[in-house]
Amino acid sequence: MSDALTVSRPGFTATPVRGGRRFSLQGRATTLNGTAKALGLAEVPAMLGTAQAGKCTLLRLAPQELLILTDDAGLPGKVTDYLATVPHSLVEVSDRQVGWTLVGERLHDTLAALSPLDMRARSFPVGCATRTLFGKADGMVWRTSEDTFHLEVWRSFAPYIVAMLDAAALDAAW
């Protein structure tokens, strides 16, 4: 659905992210930690932190919640094996949301038209991820590099977000 939904304006582009799967893992801290360890990490990322473990990216969006992004193969067996031993909730949400890669020198002004979140580097450094509000839509934003952000919203909000970003990117020129 997001394929056609791109923004391309001077100073700002939003390109749909294709492929991969998403899992929402919820459980108590020990379970989240155990999952991280099963993936070879020392511990689960702190709140709003992210970590890369092989083909999995862990985003700590809530105290008891990890969003795990994987390739098309899904979660490695070592994770599901571990989870079989502990109370948890694992729900695939690959299709619930759609994502974009955001770049451009007007990126900040564009996002700031939609979100009240302080996304300056000193408050929101590389690797930081959180849910917040974009206009009237829930969204998840993750700073993947100094100049690149990853944005996700629920699928049905995609046309709205794209239109809002497009309008905001135009405004940002003035």
Partner: protein, 101 residues
């Protein structure tokens, strides 16, 4: 627009949150044993103080956690926010004065 400190996510704008009413009102363990009067007290009667209030917020457009806050309703200044399940913290006179300012 208030700036609210989510105990998990830090300072965020009010629009990310939903107020969830008075804090520290525990659901009775056995509601059926309560009189109508007691049940109504639990369900409807609320502190509505002009001064310090203990209240709940939900970081609705964030980590989606409920948490508690102490705030002065005369100024809307927060004294502190804290996790659900923690007891209502003592407010020092200095904190109270600062919040009332």
């Amino acid at each position: 627009m208030l700036l609210i400190r989510c105990p998990y996510c830090g300072d965020r704008a009010e629009v990310e949150f939903a107020n969830a009413g008075e804090a520290h009102i525990d659901r009775p363990a056995d509601p059926m044993s309560l009189s109508d009067e007691e049940w109504a007290q639990y369900l409807y009667m609320r502190d509505n103080p002009k001064g310090l209030i203990a209240e709940r917020w939900r970081h609705a457009h964030g980590c989606n956690r409920f948490f508690n806050a102490i705030r002065d309703t005369r100024t809307d200044r927060f004294v502190t926010t804290y996790e659900i399940g923690q007891p209502r913290p003592e407010v020092t006179p200095e904190q109270a004065e600062e919040a009332a300012r």
